[in-house]
Amino acid sequence: MFFAFASNVLQLVMDRTVAAGFFLSDGGGGIFGPILDQITGYARDLWGVFVGLIIIAATLGMIVAVLRGTGGMLVGGSKETTVALISVVGIVLLVVVAFVAIPQLSKMITDLKPAAPF
């Protein structure tokens, strides 16, 4: 075979790389397993941070909206009160989307994950 030497050398290098990768990882991501484990860990941490921040921001947002609506009522502005109520409903809707719809969408995406087509 004309390219036999290249094939053997490349195969040796790749075999060692793949073997090293499988020893280091949990077997889920192949040679990219260690990097993938780190990225997944960071993503989990980031998810927790986002959830906490959403709770804080939603609480503050609703308080601000209630304050605005109350201030509007105080000076007789019905439009301000209406806008404040709509804001509260919007924030609640966003929180519902974040905590109910997004996990379901993520599960759907995970189920759609395709195998390599080559």
Partner: protein, 179 residues
Amino acid sequence: MGDTLQIILNVLRQAWGALTLFIVSAAALAMLAKVLSTVGASSIGARFMVYESLATIAAVVILVLVAFVGIPPIVRAVATSIPGAPGCGPITELGTFASGLIAAIAGVRMMLAVARTIGGAAIGGTAEVSQALIEVVEALFGMLLVGMAIPLIAMFFTGGCAQYQLPKSGNPFWATPTY
């Protein structure tokens, strides 16, 4: 060459798997990050609308659907359309090797383009569907061009086999065919 091709394809398959997992995590984070930015803006009094957040979520879902449902059939189509073994001798081996690799590299590159866009959206950027699709088409078209060029170059520089020869019309670089 066949064993080497299988090993490289294995590595590319693992890269594909890692990219799909990354896309799943980045998409979830991108959707949550957009909701957080909208809720955060409303907490300081800005009047952001709910639909802005939902539009970004829809863009991320569309991108993921394109990546997970659209790209695999495209890669299969590319793999079947690339000529496998032009010429003869070592050129045949190289052609088989290249045709196996081209589809795999195109698939990983297309998935990488989508992963980059969704990763950008996960850290607060915008999910630009058009940019990702442009990169996908670039990868596809580039790999198809390469797939067409391989047999032509093989025939041009080596002479190839008699049944694959191009017309010799005065070309000084045309190699003498060896039978």
